[in-house]
Amino acid sequence: MTWTQDAVVRSEDERTTASPSGRTRDARRRKRPSTRWSHLVFVAPALVVYGFFVIKPLLTSVQYSFYDWNGIGASTWVGLDNYRRILGDSSQLAIVGHAFELIIFFTVVPVVLGLVAAALMHGLPQGSFATVSRTVLFIPQVIPLVAAGIVWDWVYSSDGVANQILSAIGLGGLTRPWLADFSTALPAVGLIGSWVMLGLCTLLLLTGINKIDPSLYEAARIDGANRLREFVHVTLPGLRREIGVCVTVTMIAALASFDIIYISTQGGPGRSTMVPGVEIYRLAFTQREIGQASAMAVILMVLVLVTIIPIQRFTQRTDS
């Protein structure tokens, strides 16, 4: 507030000191020589930093991916060999499959549950309950994913609360170390992602649903639509943008997952929870296969791009 007042006062000062005619001439003179090229000065610093620490490493990644290199000695040009080895190896392709399987948990579960919650809560008055629920549901977004991994590692362990609850409700036969079991490790890790994303999606959709024009709902009611039809014909189209945001954010998180997996399973047992991000780390820093790691890095980048762009196109379409 004081800032703006200050600005106004200043410009008033300038106005009184400059003579009217002088001012217009000044402005004109000032406008001409300041070609817009000189304004690139404003964008240049950001471009330079971004270019040097993001674009350059990106290009280096592509370059490394054509070589066989252990990071220390001499490197050999191998062309597309690194890509062939990944794309021709079923165990490496399974890793990409895991990333897509995680989308079910990171994206589908939170978006569907969030939609149901938002539809039911629609039009709820703002109150302390809304504030409390917003605070609680955001906590998983605020803590580091590493912490989420540690917390859930304990929940899923043999002595953890998951098995405790199962035993308590008479399903003791199902208890197991969830993250160490080949058949349950990936879904268990996926559910950590659901837990992290659920709050964000619910709150985004709640915010979005309260922005939908109430007259649309009234029209639907006058037409005699039941709640389900109302949901399909008014709520879903009205939330298209928010759904698109949820899907985009959660899909990138699923495809590029690292922290949760690294902390809770390291990609194990066996390679049942290995995902591209952790595999890049393993190849580069434990196997010393820089070329392989870089090829995987490029594949992951392409994967994210080809997954995200169609979603963006579909949901960002302007409703003219």
Binding site: V49, L198, V245
Partner: protein, 274 residues
């Protein structure tokens, strides 16, 4: 009871369920942290004799004091610089309409889809050749760059929302682009900037993979990086690990609860814009 009221009740019940699901893991962590040191507790059980001293031990073992300092240093290195660069670039792209502004903008936005893991290998060798490995600069410099796409996107969106008349008025008053930015635009950009600052603070504080790769010494890492190291070292001592994890999480959660409104707004807007 009318149909909407009933659905509100179901909705509330569902939200309560979501809240319980969100909190259960923390409750079990907390009850575990209070068990006798060195034991292997099970699930949730309120200890008959809570060992609050576990938190004191964990504070000491996890070096929480130096850790907080280190994380703060990294945040101070990243956030102001990111803000400054993003404001300049966003202003240039939105208000001044520099040449090729659309191409430059797309070039930045594509960066939003780059997974950090895809860059860790080349960044490692880049930092090695710059002689910065295992220093805080190894995290600060790449993070400023990695947050640039989002920062530019965010600030450009803000400057586009400013009425053109304001800029014109400033120009007529004889203010050059710098003066107009300083005296007219910056005061108006404060809310957008503070939201961006909150997001950048959170992301920096919680950044793990870069810390893992570029900095070996947990005391020079981000909070999340240090937590990862702590788990690697004390993963078998569940009681100590739980106490340590809670302590390492505490600063963010406390700051979040205090600035709940601002955080929520930033997180929601950030998701929609991202």
């Amino acid at each position: 009871m009318s149909a909407p009221a009933r659905s509100h009740l179901t909705g509330r019940a569902m939200l309560v369920l979501f809240m319980v699901l969100t909190l259960i893991p923390f409750v079990t962590l907390f009850s575990t942290a209070l068990q006798p040191p060195g034991t292997i507790p099970t699930g949730v059980s309120w200890p008959s004799d809570p060992h609050w001293g576990n938190f004191v031990d964990a504070w000491r073992i996890a070096n929480l004091g130096p850790l907080l300092r280190s994380s703060l240093l990294i945040v101070l290195g990243v956030v102001p610089a990111s803000l400054f660069l993003a404001v300049l670039a966003g202003y240039g792209l939105a208000t001044l309409r520099v040449p090729f502004s659309n191409a430059i903008f797309v070039f930045f936005v594509l960066g939003l889809t780059i997974p950090f893991e895809s860059l860790i290998t080349p960044l490692y060798y880049q930092m090695q050749s710059l002689g910065l490995l295992n220093s805080r600069w190894a995290l600060i410099l790449p993070l400023i760059a990695l947050y640039m796409p989002f920062g530019v996107f965010w600030m450009r969106a803000h400057f586009l929302s400013v009425p053109a008349e304001l800029t014109e008025a400033a120009t007529i008053d004889g203010a050059g682009p710098w003066r107009a930015l300083r005296h007219v635009h910056l005061p108006l950009a404060m809310p957008a900037m503070s939201s961006l600052a909150i997001l950048l603070f959170l992301w920096t504080w919680n950044q793990f993979v870069l810390a893992l790769v570029l900095v070996d010494d947990p005391l020079k890492r981000t909070m999340a990086g240090a937590l990862g190291a702590f788990q690697g070292q004390y993963g078998t001592d569940i009681v100590l690990l739980s106490a340590g994890a809670l302590l390492i999480m505490a600063p963010t959660v406390i700051v979040f609860v205090i600035f709940q409104r601002q955080f929520s707004r930033a997180l929601l807007q950030g998701a929609v814009k991202g």
